[in-house]
């Protein structure tokens, strides 16, 4: 099965997938730093405040530590998926699977 089914672009496809995987891991790390970094300071000290601080009815630390990152993540995902990720030709299925 190995040689007969070998496509010329299998290696290139693998390398592109690996590159995209690295992008995703870095993206995760950036949002991790933002959400955990900000919330670990602002969220854990919020209990000591006499009055809850809010933005549009949402606790301030949730607004800047979660809602804004969520919106940025949406924008980033749209850009990454529609502009950065590359299309690959799909592998053919073995005949007995069709």
């Amino acid at each position: 099965m190995a040689d007969a089914n070998q496509r010329a672009d299998t290696g290139a496809s693998f390398r592109q997938c690996l590159l995209e995987l690295k992008w995703m891991v870095v993206t995760w790390a950036v949002f991790f730093a933002w959400v955990i970094g900000y919330s670990s300071v602002a969220g854990y000290s919020a209990a000591e405040q006499a009055e809850v601080q809010m933005v549009w009815g949402i606790p301030r630390w949730v607004f800047y530590g979660w809602l804004i990152p969520l919106l940025v993540a949406n924008v980033f995902t749209i850009w990454f998926c529609l502009c950065k990720m590359q299309d690959e030709p799909m592998e053919e299925l073995p005949e007995d699977m069709i």
């Binding site: 995987l21 949002f31 854990y44 009055e51 809850v52 995902t77 699977m97």
Partner: protein, 639 residues
Amino acid sequence: MMLAASAEEGSNAALVSFCIYTLIVFALAWLAGRKREGKSFMNEYFLGSRNLGMWAFALTYAATSASGGSFMGFPAKIYTYGWVMALWIGGYIVVPLVAMGLISKRLNQVARKSGSITVPEMMRKRLGSPTVGQVATVFLVFFQFFFLLAQFKAGAKIMTTLLGDVSVFVAAKGTIESVLQPVPWIGGSEADGAYYLCLLVFAVSVVACTAWGGFRAVVWTDVMQGMVMLFGVVILLGLALTQVGGLENATREVAKMVPPENGVLRMEVIEKTKLPQGTWFKLESDQQVKYLRVKKDTEVSPTKEGGGNEVDVICMPKPTDAEAKAIESQLAKQTVAAIPFVYQKESGYKYGEGKQGVYVSAPGPSSTEIQGFLPVMMAMCFFAFWPFAGSGQPSYMARQMAFKDTVTLRRSIVFVMIYFSLIYFPLIIIFTCSRVLLPGWEIDSDRIMPEMAMYLTSNAGAPWLAGLLLAAPFAAVMSSVDSFLLLFSSSITRDVYQQKYPDASEAKLKKVSFAVTIIMGVLAVVAVLKPPQFLQDLIVFGSGGLAASFLMPVVLMLYWPRLTPAASVAGMVSGGFTIGAIYLAGYFINGRFGEINLFGLHPFIWAVAVSALVSVIAVRFSKPTDPKLVENYFGQLKG
């Protein structure tokens, strides 16, 4: 009797709309079954001929992901811990990109190239080792089963709430309880006829739907269920915000709340009296009012010694004005006669007792942990858990094998990102409001979602809408259960039966698939006859176990040419056993099912780290994979 919303008229209306929804699900399953004719049974039944477009792939992924945990366990946690749940679920902001993007494209390519239908089969073929496939099947079935149990419990609970006051249902419940009275284990005074009946109806419908329709039925119903979930959440959000007086008002009220206490009421009665779960008592002393709520159905009787009865309750020690108003309106509708009592506090929250502001800040209140519900280290762990555990779920991998091309994948990730944003953020708002509208549901917080749906729609004068809203969590549960059942039948049929009988006919394979689906459904019903208390714990254990066993072996299998069969097996075994051992230790230390967090880290982190380390070490000491296989899946690595 607990809420006005539970009036029979409302229940009947909700039941009708819910039945219509269920009939549509059955119709889709039937149509899917017909579409299978003339195609390869295995490829069509288990992967829908790998031809999913954007809507189907995105919504089936989203619906499978949004399980009973999202609509039952997650709301219960928001209710119990407040706004800190935004941080708990923080990792979801990158779930679509990471969980779908990390392996989808590569996984789909490798599955196509190898002609694989299941994850164990793909691992077996990529590494050229039957042992890898067998070990993968064992871990998949074991951990997925725990996940399945939680969904069965959730499905039965939703139906229980929906049917609560329908007269036929009440009669059937009484009959079942009296029939089961002498039966050991499930009978006696704690027999819950309502739960048993709902569990049976849920199990029969979901098993029949899955067995008949296969993957395509699951996907079609997922598409519908995904839309139902979205509309359900949007409607709930509107109703909740309107009835609570705006989000700012809700957050301000929640900020004033303090956690409840656990205690007992001692009371003497002159005749047998039933105290249903949720019955309120009011305690007034020194210008201070406390409200007490019965935790579970209890019967109190006259006692000869005059020692009285003990009834377990929670106590709202410092109710806010909004809480008092909501409770008083429920008290006014109660039919239980006034009974004199003495209240005794037994325990309070270990973090947050008597403290305002704990529901709008981190780490959130906790009845068991002195450092609170979500210490910083755990917040970090969960930020890793959601996206990476998502990548390691075989049920998602099955979907990732089925999209038709990479354009579909790219657009689906965007779709799911927006979809999740529209589901999870509103859920946090809705169930923050529920603390204000429905106080005291710490007695059975897993029921807050259906109770909230009934309450909001009844107050809005549209009880029939409750059927649609309850269809949302029910859809989430059903879409997960059918996916899991299909995963079991595909793994056992393809990786066990067909391995042993490679020449088995399609008709025979069909029968085996149906039989496995039914057997797994029956086993799940038996296992949850005595339901475990904490739904979310089961879900985290099941999904954590699957991710611990599969994440590193699958990622390395796809991206690391040097991975060997022995290293793959070692990675699965070490990951699965690590998480199992930590939960087992938790059981012995805490006396209940739940994890322990060594050095503040969630078991998932330990298990994935161990799995990765063991895999890498094992590669150095094991026989390399056949170079032809490596070249087949990775191409010419140099140049």
